[in-house]
């Protein structure tokens, strides 16, 4: 049981992790992440990489949608921009991996800023639809700018390498993907302790009031778009190192909906929410695959049922969470934690 933590300075109140217990848990988590690839089988390492990539992108979308209140259905398209940039650099220029990732993020960030321009005039649903337009237009660019993107057949790239090591297996890429994701998540968590992050939150709560308070709406909305797309771009870069081929169909509109669903299921405007949501939404289809595997002896052509059932479960999760748990998994987590904090005095 924990009673409470007395804080004596503002800095202590603002700290990301305020108690020793929390820090201990955090160290435990890092230790777990470090030993994970040695303990788990290749399938789980593969899944961990995929989850980490989705967490990075969902965290970016959370900055934009959860914290700044600008709904975007273009996250997957920005991932595509990052992925194409990285693949192009890797094939045609051969710059080192960290630089590629950063450049992928920067190019995606610039694209995001362009898309964000209408955000000063339109908001809410109109903006969401403007971002759908952006992703349609980007998809067109991916499939028709053949000289750079390779057209419909896309780009295939050699495995990336870092410090002279070739990274072509999930358990090698794990050491790139997971640290980058952890870094980005911490960056996002810290962002909201700064002036910029606070400005984002003020814009979310009421943009006109924020403007009256002296926050420049255009600058901060564009900054939010740029940051969110930067995250998407880096995540897209990791994605393309992981799969090594990118086509216009790699980042469909459904994937943007997936990320929006992930932050809704996880909890909008919560760093933990984006992590839980992205992990949950990535694992659910795999769990379904397992269930279908078990059922196959009894149900004829169970495998054929997998795709429609997955679509139904995806939609059902969005609907159920919105109606019954609008604060998402982050709230569930807080509830569980509260229970253990007060146990055994209050159950």
């Amino acid at each position: 049981m924990r009673i409470g933590a007395a804080k004596q300075t503002y800095a202590a109140d603002e700290a990301l992790f305020d108690t020793t217990v929390q820090r201990a848990w955090l160290i435990g988590l890092f230790a777990l992440l470090a030993v994970f690839p040695f303990m788990a089988g290749p399938y789980w390492v593969y899944m961990a990489c995929l989850v980490a990539i989705n967490i990075a992108s969902a965290t970016g979308l959370n900055i934009l949608t959860g914290y700044t209140g600008l709904v975007s259905l273009g996250q997957a398209a920005f991932m595509g921009v990052g992925a194409y940039t990285v693949a192009w650099l890797e094939v045609n220029v051969g710059t080192p991996l960290p630089l590629n990732l950063i450049l992928g993020g920067v190019v995606a960030g610039l694209a995001g800023m362009v898309v964000g321009v209408p955000s000063l005039r339109v908001k809410g649903l109109y903006l969401a639809i403007a971002t759908i337009a952006a992703s349609v237009i980007l998809h067109f660019v991916f499939s028709h700018w053949t000289a750079v993107t390779g057209g419909v057949s896309g780009l295939t790239m050699p495995p990336g390498s870092l410090f002279g090591l070739t990274l072509d297996e999930p358990h090698e890429l794990y050491w790139v993907i997971v640290p980058v994701t952890v870094l980005m998540v911490f960056g996002a968590a810290n962002l909201f302790r700064t002036r910029i992050g606070r400005a984002f939150i003020a814009i979310r709560d009421r943009d006109i009031s924020a403007e009256v308070l002296g926050i420049r709406l255009l600058r901060f909305k564009l900054l939010s778009f740029a940051l969110s797309s930067f995250y998407a771009g880096v995540a897209g870069g990791l994605w393309v190192y992981f799969f090594r081929v990118v086509t216009p169909e790699s980042f469909p509109l459904v994937m943007s909906i997936f990320f929006l669903a992930a932050i809704i299921v996880g909890g909008m405007g919560s760093i933990l929410g984006a992590i839980l949501g992205a992990a949950f939404m990535t694992m659910v289809p795999e769990a379904l695959k397992l269930v279908v595997g078990w059922m196959s002896p009894w149900v004829p052509d169970a495998v054929a049922l997998l795709s429609p059932v997955r679509t139904i479960v995806f939609g059902g999760l969005i609907v159920l969470f919105l109606i019954f748990e609008p604060q998402g998994l982050a709230e569930v987590w807080r509830r569980v934690r509260r229970f253990f904090h007060l146990w055994p005095f209050k159950t």
Binding site: R121, L125, I137, L322
Partner: protein, 292 residues
């Protein structure tokens, strides 16, 4: 320039535009009454096509009965969805409700795939097939029939809104919910009514679209074009949905014929962005003034 070809393409485009206008009307109806942006409209349209297929081909019912039953099922569906999913979300942020309809759309696609499979299907022929000529220009009879049905329905709607009690209640609710409520209008019932009518309309246009192009679980993409239509026209404007519907239909047909099919989406969405930048509330939409 081949004028005859241009005329034919334009006529086909206007024909398709009629369907956009009809579906756009379903969308506007829900938005006007309940302020819900229903992104599942394309999927409800698809459901209409499939339910009709189930009655007409699966159970081999006569066409008129199948049409009536489909409309009834669609109306029931609209009522149930409103009651179970939309009503609990009253007062939540518009973004949540909008995501809810995306979820609903995803469920509908899955259910249809589960019941009827993922392959495209052909609806039984129930529309005239003889080629039709306006002047010298050829028009597919199906498109012409669909356009006529759409036009009649739209006119019927306009009359209903103007003269029917329920229609007046609907307009009153759209104007000011609290005022309508205090005048004795049962606002929750108006919400249900709006969903019922909108789903019937969407299902009707689903049967028409399905008769022309066949039905498939990916038919919901039609909803994306409808989304462009209503945004360009203005989310809460019936007139806007009709004008923009015809215009987008024309634009798609012309770009499809002269530039190639893959430019269709590009053209409509570029138009969408242009309209959003110049007139963010659409051509005929109400400009909402924000107050603190």
């Amino acid at each position: 320039m081949d004028w005859l070809f241009l005329a034919e393409v334009s006529l086909a485009g206007i024909g398709a535009g009629g369907l956009y206008a009809l579906t756009g009307l379903a969308f506007v109806l829900i938005y006007k009454a309940t302020r819900v942006v229903n992104l599942a409209i394309g999927e409800i349209l698809m459901l209409g096509g499939y339910v009709f297929f189930g009655f007409a081909a699966g159970l081999a019912l006569p066409t008129w009965l199948a049409i009536l039953l489909t409309l009834a099922v669609a109306g029931l569906f609209g009522g149930v969805v409103e009651r179970l999913l939309i009503r609990p979300m009253l007062g939540e942020s518009p973004i949540s409700v909008f995501m809810l309809t995306i979820g609903l759309g995803s469920i509908l696609v899955g259910v249809v795939e589960l019941l009827w499979g993922a392959n495209p299907l052909q609806l039984p022929d129930y529309m005239p097939n003889t080629p039709l000529f306006i002047g010298e220009a050829y028009v597919s009879a199906k498109v012409a029939t669909a356009f006529a049905v759409a036009a009649v329905t739209v006119v019927a709607f306009l009359l209903l809104f103007r003269f029917w009690r329920g229609g007046v209640a609907l307009r009153a609710t759209a104007g000011d919910q609290a005022a309508a409520y205090s005048m004795g209008i049962d606002v929750p019932r108006v919400f249900s009514l709006a969903w019922v009518i909108a789903c019937i309309t969407a299902a009707a246009s689903g049967m028409l679209v399905g008769a022309i192009g066949g039905i498939s679980p990916t038919m919901g993409v039609f909803g994306l074009s409808v989304l462009v239509v209503v945004i360009v026209g203005g989310l809460d404007s019936v007139l806007g949905a009709m004008v923009a519907g015809l215009f987008i239909g024309l634009l798609e047909a012309l770009t499809g014929a002269f530039l190639g099919g893959e430019f269709k989406m590009l053209a409509t969405f570029t138009l969408l962005v242009a309209v959003l930048v110049v007139r963010p509330y659409g051509l005929f939409g109400t400009h909402e003034i924000e107050r603190l």
